[in-house]
Amino acid sequence: MKTHIETLKRHQFEVLWTHQQRANLIQIGIKAEQTLPVLTYLKTHTPFVQLTHYSAVDWIEDNEFQLTYTLTNPQTYEILMVCARIDREAATADSLHKLWPQAVTYEHEMGEMFGLKFPGSPRVGEPFNLEGWRDMPPMRRDFDTVKFVRDSIPERPGRQAINTRDYIGAEAGEKRLLHD
């Protein structure tokens, strides 16, 4: 797998960082504007032909979204995760629908859940998981879920909630005291 990353570098793609998570899983960071060329190269010239997963992470502290493309080598089951960071305000990335048709579904979902834009992606703007959603995209980290629920979805009064962390901590503390 490392040879393929070296080949990427030799082809003047900028690999910002590499991180080996397991024996068969390596993550690499690339520039967002090189996403499409890198993925096209990986699909056409290396055995990483399968897009197994494709998701977004909201790095609100860095004002960026990270897009992670998980590619698999079907012969050896090696996994290469290609990460690219895009600006959080623009939130626009390249569509992969020409490379892998199944990417459309991921893009569709990310568009709805994170408000990401993939110009040219088919079915963009159609309702998918959320029907009639009027608020900000719910998977963005600045979306206050509890406030949204309190404001817009009626709840049966009298519900008692226990803070799980305190409850289990207290219980564990008691037990420890008993054992001591």
Binding site: G132, F143, T145, P154, R159
Partner: protein, 213 residues
């Protein structure tokens, strides 16, 4: 129960001196004529007894609780021994089980299915999610209280309830139907505006007809 029922008179023998083609009103009854109210109540009781023993569950699961319906329907717990069976379409079913959490997107489909079911029909709320949101109380996608949107006749609490609890719940529902107290479907028709108002509060892209016949 048999003792409490008023005696329903069969075809009486023709009283002496009466006309052969007398109008079948008062003459049809020998002795004391039963009061119409009691008569109707008796018929209703018989109907309810039949209804309670003919539950047809719509085979439709909304949340994780529906996984408990599979062992209930099959050999291990076998709900057919209580006369409860599953039906694949709402037109053939009269019990709707909301099994666990109900997302707002699914609520729209559930309303459609419920309205298509022939009356009398009953709704069973399964699991704590239908009662107060359960572990999904802070989810942006699920409703928190089922009886605002559909008339619930029986709640079965638990997260999630075991098939034994479901059998217990069905037994309670059957008792309720026999007593004539499970009238959620009438309530839904009477207070349709109130239910509609609640439904439209959380379903923002409302595109259902006035009533899904």
């Amino acid at each position: 129960m048999r003792d409490e029922l008023p005696v329903l008179h069969g075809v009486p023998p023709i009283p002496e001196g009466s006309q052969p083609h007398a109008r079948c009103q008062d003459e049809c009854f020998l002795g004391e004529k039963p009061e119409p109210l009691k008569y109707r109540e008796a018929i209703q009781r018989i109907k309810n007894w039949f209804r309670a023993n003919s539950l047809h569950v719509l085979a439709y699961g909304t949340g994780c609780g529906s996984i408990e319906l599979r062992p209930l329907g099959t050999a291990r717990f076998d709900m057919e021994r209580f006369g409860i069976s599953t039906r694949p379409t709402p037109r053939h079913a009269n019990v709707l089980i909301i099994s666990g959490y109900l997302s707002i997107k699914t609520l729209k489909r559930v309303i459609r299915s419920y309205e298509q079911m022939p009356s009398p029909k009953w709704v069973v709320g399964l699991g704590s999610c239908t009662i107060n949101g359960g572990m999904y109380w802070d989810s942006y996608a699920t409703m928190k209280q089922l009886d605002l949107y559909l008339p619930v006749d029986m709640y079965i609490s638990g997260c999630m309830p075991r098939p034994e609890a479901l059998i217990e719940g069905f037994a309670a529902l059957m008792d309720k139907i026999k007593k004539g107290e499970a009238n959620g479907y009438l309530d839904y028709l009477e207070r349709l505006d109130w239910y509609r108002e609640n439904q439209k509060k959380i379903i923002h892209d409302w595109d259902l007809p006035d009533y899904s016949w």
